[in-house]
Subunit: 261 residues, 4 copies
């Protein structure tokens, strides 16, 4: 009998066809983050057991746009950039497990299949979307990183716009926000192939960055609009109180995590 | 603590955001099938334990293009067709398990995220691709279903063309081919979040159609070309001997399966 | 000096690179048409001189979704269907010129560049969009062509949904509507490369089908919603009175027209 | 009778629907340029009268990848970046007209319709394509701007890859190459709507940047591969002798040109 290889499907004799190579995965990217407070009940209802709401500021939400270049240990994807570049928009809340505070991604859209594949492993609930964010640039009309600089960011899925933001930067910042600042606590879930049976997989995992470097963060404020759609519920996380908005360039390494429950 | 719902991720209080609703899933579609024989060793190396090669004709391969409209029990997706329509190209071989012959999809590309989500449940190793196939039409230059009718079909992924076929129909057919005619035996696989540990999920499942209706099949022959790419191995299934080509319209219901191992 | 060839740009020594080959162009397609009356002033303001509003029913509008397979005289595009298939959604009104009534496309979105190229020649004001329409199918959940059959149709551009329709068929129909039933009167327009100068091209052309065949038309009614967007004005054509909705399969040949003014 | 407005089609009472607003147009972008020499006869055959080959180095070719953010005078597109961002890959040669040397774009692919619209005005022969290029980044695995930095760039159209390059930077450079350094001499061409008649438009126009700023250019060398396709001829511009490769960030203003012939 054959031995098949590959970090994810499809597995073959060589492993070369796998939708994603094995970690570590390396990322260079630009993050545009909008933080606000919603009704804490809207966050709590997204936290299945054994998670509970964060003890402080339980209604805090971050919506993050990210423009990535990513690769495996070989770096080869960077030279065939259709295999390295992707954009994403994701919604993060905080939660508590065994007395520790975690970040948790409750909604996320990406624009490439390899990013969906990594999300399966990491527990990010990825759908496809169309994601755009203004990039800073030193020449021409695009914004410089300076007070008053303005960045747009949008998300659409299934031909419907779901979110729009305009961020205005004010000054350098000590932080890039606080909602997405903890290790992630995610469920990995797959139903049983047999109707009515217990899930085939339903585990709680923890993961964080194995490496991180970043430039100067900037902060400011955002105008944010969330739009309804038949198969989406992001707009239920209504904007009750703005917190702030941030821009930062980062380099990240991801290399696995551990099972919590 | 909250109860979250949803057949797949993301799970929420209502379940409305799930990438896919629960089965049964209903499909209307057009299939263009090309069958041929490759070196049986190329098939065998794609069959992990406890599977073994099919006892007869173990090098038979089917490459199938399908143009689908699909929906859940509510049928609502059909009226918002961006959520119902998708195309796919997939490669099927046969294998043996406990004395029975199964079909098995070894490679597959689709063009929508909800199709990826259904594939996670069913064990289809889905990537994104760009898939096209000629459709029959009663008026104008597109082919009628008649002797001599010619249909083109192509597959690309990551901006590279991977497969091209031109099918010429000759006559009505008793069958739509034989390679994809058995229940499917698929692995559902997810690595451990902890490097070096055993997979979190690695199960063999069986599933077939819970309902099936179909029109008259047609048969003919195909010119088929498979092209190489850095992250694909479909072209290793070299075309040693053509078998035939088929066109058929079908209606399918899928409603779960059972675990084999 | 060289002679360059090609029906449209880019012109080369062989003409092979042209975005579109020369007419005649052949089409097989399915049309879903929604007709209604808007404020006639909204139509009149879209009719530049020397056009004037149609003498009868000047507020009539047709919004048409079409799912096409198209090709040149060689038919070769049909066997490489990424070069043949496209979808479009377009808005047609009627107008008058020298005592004759014409149809006129005032807005149109397509999903392929070769369709944009043909539109440049024909005077259709084509933008890119994402267009979907339910297709009838003889098996599974998709609708048959029968009383009560329901078809959805949607249009989006720049990640915003612009139009949605659900058409319910009632019975066979003598016609496929009347708004798009005349020869087309279109302007072909290009500004001068020199700011402030008269247009380089601004001509009124007439064109119609050089060949036409069609199946049984069906009629019914539609729910239609038009949505606003920053760079679109289709929603100004407000729905004041529904007229009807139609489904028809057609074959069309287009082979040039004549200059009117 | 109505007066319609709009820089390009569709023209309406307000002009708001125009595929593109009027110039000036502003651009921020990153250019990756590969220069080489081909057989001068392959360039000459792409130069229709009244153009002739450049007197010096008539076989020089530049293939340029560009990653743009662009906007009109209002800058509003920058805050809705799906309307501002696009990528392109284009092929430039040089030619001579009335004793002056011009640059001329002979092939170009873009990924947005507003870029096609601007090309109609400027005389760029734009098709749709899928274009990717590695971006420099200060953190993580993406390259810094430094000796040895490597950038990939790819082009595909109609699901076929057409060009691939890997550029390795060596040192800062006085120039960003020389092939694309002249004012552009382009034809604007539209056939007559009447078969067999003279073109409705066939004019030679000149245009260059109305404003330009740029960062330090870098030079190095490239591995470049051009691939054949049924409707493309870029690969006829065979690579006979490499010249060099360049990276530069630029800001550009475009504001019309003048008619040459």
């Amino acid at each position: 009998m054959a031995t098949v290889r590959g970090f994810l499907y499809p597995q073959t004799a060589t492993g070369r066809s796998s939708l994603i190579p094995s970690p570590p995965w390396h990322y260079s990217g630009d993050l545009l983050t909008v933080e606000y407070r919603t009704d804490p009940a809207r966050v709590a209802e997204l936290l299945p057991e054994p998670l509970s709401p964060a003890p402080e500021d339980p209604g805090a939400v971050a919506i993050i746009w990210a423009d990535w270049q990513s690769c495996s240990e070989s770096r080869e994807e960077l030279l065939d950039p259709v295999r390295a570049q992707y954009k994403e928009c994701f919604v993060v809340v905080r939660c508590s497990f065994e007395g520790r505070t975690y970040s948790r991604c409750v909604y996320i859209w990406v624009d490439k299949d390899f990013a969906i594949g990594r999300g399966l492993h990491q527990g990010y609930p990825k759908k496809l979307g169309s994601i755009h964010q203004t990039r800073p640039h030193p020449y021409g009309p695009a914004p410089r990183l300076e007070p008053g600089a303005r960045f747009g960011a949008t998300l659409a899925a299934a031909d419907r716009r779901l979110a729009e933001a305009v961020v205005t930067l004010r000054e350098p910042s000590e932080t890039n926000g606080f909602v997405n600042g903890h290790p992630m606590a995610h469920h990995r879930f797959l139903p049983s192939i047999e109707p009515g049976q217990a899930p085939a997989l339903n585990e709680l995992v923890e993961a964080g960055a194995a490496g991180f470097e970043a430039g100067q963060a900037w902060k400011g404020e955002a105008e944010l609009t969330l739009l309804d759609a038949p198969t989406e519920e992001m707009s239920l996380l209504t904007i009750e109180e703005p917190i702030g908005a941030y821009y930062r360039q980062v380099g990240v390494v991801w290399n696995g995590g551990r099972r919590l429950a």
